[in-house]
């Protein structure tokens, strides 16, 4: 006796679920240029590496003889696979199954997928496209239900356990939008993906008539901090996911791996000596500095459109993955806004969770000031950002590129720790900048001078001498002032010095989304 017949039946049933929502639904996707969920998984993961879990799940129909005549698959496909030869968990919404709406949900599958990634300690990639709740399902159920977040205890725990990537590849509404933001890195495809709590028809009932692009387009969500990256095609989204994971350990119980260094750790780019303008009011290109001091081609910016006065991303130093924070003087002179604060808090908690050493390139004139800034709650969000910096246990290196003023400037590192810190000669710090303060503080002297303008210039020159970072360094207030061209060698030395200090394991301050 053999089980040949049963295995044949097993394969017949699997073929039914593999057909997804049926040829007509799949053809509609093809003609609109969208991949189906199995094509997506195939394009994302290493060839032939996908091992589906729950491949038989669906709603069976039986013929008179009790044989399964049809098996309508559920709307979530998940399993184990490999990306760049490393094990991952992949979960994809099948939109061809009644719009991937709640009605086709197989109970327990989503929660088990999250749990699998959690217990196997492997990264999770969610391929999201779903419309959220559906009133039709109420009639099928014959009752209403109290909404509860099934499996969410694991979703939340995963934020502090494994890297989670969410790719919005179509509409993601309601709980789909929640699955997007419960991630460490979320990507939307321009014009293809729309993300909102509720779509245009529901919003119209509030009297707000908007298109789905106006309500939850990719650019809007990126600016709102809902997602971290916007791309033009699904393939680009997969590439982003792979690249993001390449900097991270598989879970917090491991450490990110060093890759073979591709760049000279002693490289000194000559132009760094003039990267920062002598004129303090002039802006400069911080991203060019980042590209110059980290391993060539290794910088991957994240969350660029949100809280834009702070640049955040991942990079490598002599092959070691690190978290990069830097100021963008083009945005409010690098001042921390309420949004920048939220970005810093989330990013530092993320780096700390995955034990990535932080390199912080600082040019911060303070928090953004003014009534709007007060109304935005800037000081409270700033206090949270400062807390995340002080609570981080990962190795931390600061480069003071220019301004360091006020509480926001002081949040560049935890001052109670060893100061692994360098300043460029352009370093300029204090509680309040000299500019503007001279005319009022020295009013009488200037007024009584024969040539008030000359007197003003004289006093400014005097103060600017006091302002020299060399004076602070002589008092050991600044540990080390460096030639900007030495930055890369020193950062590479930092990365090599601290690699052994990274400690695997869960952290006390795992991030909230």
């Amino acid at each position: 006796m053999s089980w040949e017949k049963e295995v044949e039946e097993l394969n017949r049933l699997k073929a039914m679920t593999a057909a997804m929502g049926g040829e007509a639904a799949l053809e509609r996707r093809r003609s609109s240029g969208r991949l189906n969920v199995r094509e997506r998984i195939e394009k994302l993961v290493d060839a032939d590496s996908f091992r589906e879990v729950g491949a038989l799940t669906g709603r069976p129909e039986f013929d008179e003889g009790g044989r399964v005549s049809n098996l309508a698959p559920g709307n979530l496909i998940f399993g184990r696979a490999k990306i760049d030869s490393r094990p991952v968990c992949v979960a994809g919404d099948d939109y061809s199954v009644v719009g991937s709406a709640g009605g086709a949900t197989v109970p327990g599958k989503f929660a088990m997928c999250e749990k699998m990634a959690n217990e196997l300690r492997i990264p999770l990639v969610r391929l999201l496209e779903s419309t959220g709740g559906n009133s039709r399902s109420l009639e099928q159920l014959g009752r209403t239900y109290i909404p509860q977040m099934e499996g969410w205890e694991t979703v939340i725990e995963n934020m502090g356990t494994i890297p989670v990537v969410a790719l919005g590849l179509g509409p993601v509404a309601g709980i789909g939008a929640a699955k997007m933001v419960f991630s460490h890195y979320a990507v939307m495809v321009r014009e293809r993906s729309h993300m909102f709590m509720a779509g245009p028809p529901l919003v119209a009932r509030l009297g707000e008539v908007v298109t789905k692009e106006e309500l939850g387009g990719a650019e809007l969500q990126a600016r709102a901090g809902g997602v971290d990256e916007v791309v033009d095609t699904e393939e680009e989204a997969f590439a982003c996911a792979k690249r993001f994971l390449s900097y991270l350990p598989s879970s917090v119980y491991e450490l990110a791996e060093r890759t073979v260094p591709q760049d000279d750790p002693h490289r000194k780019d000559e132009w760094l000596i003039k990267a920062v303008p002598q004129e303090r009011r002039r802006v400069y290109d911080m991203r060019r500095i980042i590209k110059s001091v980290f391993d060539s081609g290794s910088f991957m910016e994240m969350t660029q459109r949100y809280g834009a006065s702070v640049i955040t991303g991942l990079a490598r130093l002599d092959g070691w993955p690190v978290a990069v924070m830097a100021s963008d003087p083009y945005r409010y002179g690098g001042a921390w806004t309420a949004e920048s604060n939220a970005k810093v808090e989330r990013f530092v908690d993320f780096a700390n969770t995955f034990h990535l050493p932080v390199v912080n390139l600082v040019d911060v004139p303070g928090f953004l000031i003014g009534r709007d800034a007060e109304m935005a709650g800037t000081i409270r969000s700033g206090a949270r950002a400062l807390s995340s910096v002080f609570q981080a246990k990962v190795p931390w290196c600061t480069v003071l590129v220019r301004k360091v003023f006020g509480v926001a400037g002081a949040s560049h590192a935890n001052h109670a720790r060893y100061h692994y810190r360098f300043s460029w000669p352009s370093g300029d710090w204090g509680s309040i900048p000299v500019e503007g303060g001279v005319a009022s503080a020295y009013r009488d002297e200037i007024a009584q001078a024969e040539d008030p303008d000359a007197m003003l210039s004289l006093i400014e020159a005097r103060l600017n001498q006091v302002r020299s970072p060399f004076r602070a360094a002589m008092a050991f207030d600044c540990e080390d002032i460096i030639d900007p061209r030495e930055t890369r060698p020193l950062l590479c030395e930092f990365a090599n010095n601290v690699a052994k200090l990274r400690e695997p394991g869960p952290v006390a301050t795992a991030l909230r989304p």
């Binding site: 303090r280 009011r281 083009y330 945005r331 409010y332 002179g333 690098g334 953004l368």
Partner: protein, 75 residues
Amino acid sequence: MSLKLIHSPIKALVWKVEVEAGQPIEEYDPLIILESMKTEIPVDSSLSGIVREVLVKEGDSVEENQPLVSIEAAL
């Protein structure tokens, strides 16, 4: 003729207006210099063409995304 508006990237004060209506400009030419948090933020042209209209003057305060200059694209 296509007209393109150049918007302010941030809420700021207009410190300097570097162009006037009718002036030909190249891509990356500075149009306006904004001031925010004691920093000059140049707003450069994203295209070559002719300045059709300058919509702000020095000393104005502008909101994020407010149009600053309209430019007629070069053919």
